[in-house]
Amino acid sequence: MGRKLLFDKAHIEGIRYYDVYRANGGYGSAEKALKSMTPDQVLDEVKKSGLRGRGGAGFPTGMKWSFIAKPEGVPRYLVCNADESEPGTFKDRYLMEFIPHLLIEGLLISSYTLGCNSCYIYIRGEYAWIPDILEQAIAEAKKNGWLGKNIQGTGFDLEIYVQRGAGAYICGEETALIESLEGKRGNPRIKPPFPAVKGLWDCPTVVNNVETLAAVVPILRIGGDEYSKYGLGKSTGTKLISACGNINKPGVYEIEMNISVEEFIYSDEYCGGIANGKRLKACIPGGSSVPILPANLLLKTAKGEQRMMTYESLADGGFATGTMLGSGGFIVLDEDQCIVKNTLTFARFYHHESCGQCSPCREGTGWMKRVLQNIENGKGKMSDIDLLWDIQRKIEGNTICPLGDAAAWPVAAAIRHFRDEFEWHVLHPDEATKRNYGLAHYADPLEIAAPAAV
């Protein structure tokens, strides 16, 4: 059994409620931080832990916190990004639904560290029932003196507000989230200025993912040094992975970042193997926006090493042969799945969710979707594949926010690794509407490239 830090008590009945949570050691970390540590000491612990942002980019949290501007007389804000809308990612939902107090405790410690007195949870509009759970937990915490004025007699004040989004993927981008929180249209802002300098209501703001903020609690409980001993290398601690697709046991798993991808898919502790005895064809390990990998590249890197569930190992090989850990939306595709259709699904999603502010993403996503629709429906041309490649290349990096990149990467990776399947779709339009390309050579062992001659 892998060690757990966030979900170690998730199985206890009633952990959702304050009394049970408190009885099981809850708010211990907050007590320790508020009563015996200065904000700088807490920040040091977080820095030592090596915690990296769990929302997708993997930026070191301690460093992000130290960037926040601290002008006199200006309030600072902490915003919790619970706008989890990426296809395949549903880890925060589990955390907020079952142990809301963990998040509240994390927010309390983080706010204390950053010197914020107001904190916002921006929650995805589609999670209609979770705001009630959070509100209830906040009320409980308040009743027991963990929120409000003069928390536990330490003189620190904090209010947490829950704000529901209106159902837009783009509001998960931090500046769009801030715009939306201010009551405006959720268009990403042009950076700089960064939120750490000018964020919510033009005040310094830190935006963190739910899981990142919750992870602060175990860091304080066991200490930053101890936390950094979990995991491998720079990927410290544990990570929530929401596994879905053609596996035997879909669900949210907390993994220590030292297991291999193979173990994660096939061990009974986690996904339990591919469903119905099928073979693995491809996997998108970090939510819909990260590059898809065929089975052979997923399990072993291009260098022939075993691929691990860490930020570094998954990104090994760059975009040519690697992918990203992203937000941990682990989507597994078996041999019966069609990559073209899968890519079309993602392209349709990004087309639907583009905010329409900057032209490459607004126009390009729709174009990609339509070209993919043609290929999928047997109306594609050989030149369409190159066209798709060209479109994605012109979107990537040329947009205001990373949604443009997120829309381009799945298409790019699908063409890069599964070009034969696209070509088969074009060449056999009738057959392609009736059956799938199948596994083909995508699970064949890779030829290990010899080290380049010097």
Binding site: A168, C358, R362, R393, I400
Partner: protein, 363 residues
């Protein structure tokens, strides 16, 4: 007080310029002028917060600054990126930028109807200029373009969303020039549209400026629609004493003969207005008598309006020579001023040949 401000040295396409801190790359390039100025479809210097959306002004920063010489990893929007001391920027010298710009133009034209032959903006359209300069000859888009119905917002302005490139300039104009916010962006992604929600009319004395800021033919002047082609009109600078204190009263009249076809604000060579004008000046003063005409307006934009006004002019034929079977008419009098010939002492019958002013000047 030390008045001397430190100026930043910037190199754009290997041309050095010194600008004040806080200047954007685009404005630094405009200070140099010429071909190296990146095109801008959404940035508008008079509107706060504009820019960064159309991505046509993308440039490559090859050297971040003197202190941090690393190049920037991505292309940046020059209108919203400020210069640093020692920054080096590549615009027309970077094939990567040119390629990206070509891509952006293609994206902008994807859903654009290209109905220039029936569009009032043709001839002064920034998208037209942009596609001439950076666009491809043909489109690779094989699908139906998105279309919208034309909407009248107020009785003077028509909105044709099909042509819109969502630059947000009009939204900023409406926000910043008028008191009431009644106009914004609805929908998202490809389906996003400029709108007034439930087709409310825009009745504000400055809302007409949205027509001037629109880089394409999405917002057009209903009092001018289909009346004339802009390049057939003669542009003259004019002014009037406007009652509205916020209006500068300095405009350009677009005339044909004595008729004023339309009134616009004065625009500089980047298509930006010099000062805002009110709707009374724009829509209601269509009589030459209302205006003091200053002189011809030099349209500095490389559009068709400025083309061919003085070169290659076709002169009308001299019919007199034709009537006289090719003979040149005989000059009978060559007199330039009456006072010159007011000399009763000179006997006209004594003059040999045509009378010339010299004959009267003789003592």
């Amino acid at each position: 007080m030390a008045e001397e401000k430190k100026l930043f040295k910037v190199k754009i396409d290997n041309i050095s310029v010194e600008v004040e801190p806080g200047t954007s790359i685009l404005n630094a390039a405009r200070k140099i002028g010429g071909d190296i100025v990146p095109p801008a479809m959404c940035y508008y210097s008079k509107l706060q917060g504009s820019g960064g959306k159309c991505r046509t002004c993308l440039v490559k920063v090859t050297k971040g600054s003197e202190a941090d010489p690393r190049p920037m990893p991505k292309l940046v929007a020059s209108c919203r990126t400020n210069v640093m001391d020692g920054m080096e920027v590549a615009n027309i010298t970077s094939p990567e930028v040119q390629e990206a710009r070509k891509g952006v133009v293609e994206f902008l034209l994807l859903n654009h109807p290209l109905d220039c032959p029936v569009c009032d903006q043709a001839g002064e359209c920034h998208l037209q200029d942009l596609s001439y300069e950076h666009g491809a000859e043909t489109t690779r888009y094989e699908f139906k373009r998105r279309t919208f119905d034309r909407i009248d917002i107020g009785d003077k302005i028509q909105l044709h969303m099909t042509r819109c490139i969502l630059c947000y300039r009009c939204v900023f104009t409406a926000d910043q020039l008028t008191e009431k916010r009644e106009h914004g962006v609805l929908g998202r992604g490809e389906a996003a549209e400029i709108g007034t929600y439930i087709q409310q009319s825009l009745d504000n004395n400055f809302i007409g400026n949205v027509i001037d800021v629109c880089p394409v033919g999405a917002l057009t002047d209903k009092t001018f629609r289909f009346k004339n082609r802009v390049w057939f009109l003669k542009a003259v600078d004019a002014h009037r004493q406007c009652e509205d204190p916020k209006c500068c009263g300095k405009t350009v009249l677009w005339m044909r003969g004595d008729e004023v076809f339309r009134v616009t604000a004065r625009k500089d060579k980047y298509g930006e207005v010099e000062d805002w004008i009110c709707d009374t000046c724009r829509f209601d003063k269509k009589d030459v008598k209302d205006w003091v005409i200053e002189g011809p307006r030099n349209i500095d934009r490389h559009s068709v309006i400025s083309q061919g006004h003085y070169v290659g002019v076709h002169k009308p034929k001299d019919t007199l020579v034709e009537v006289l079977d090719g003979r040149q008419p005989k000059l009978l009098l060559d007199i330039h001023s009456i006072s010159q010939v007011n000399r009763p002492d000179i006997d006209l019958s004594q003059i040999d040949g045509p009378a010339h002013s010299d004959d009267f000047n003789k003592q």
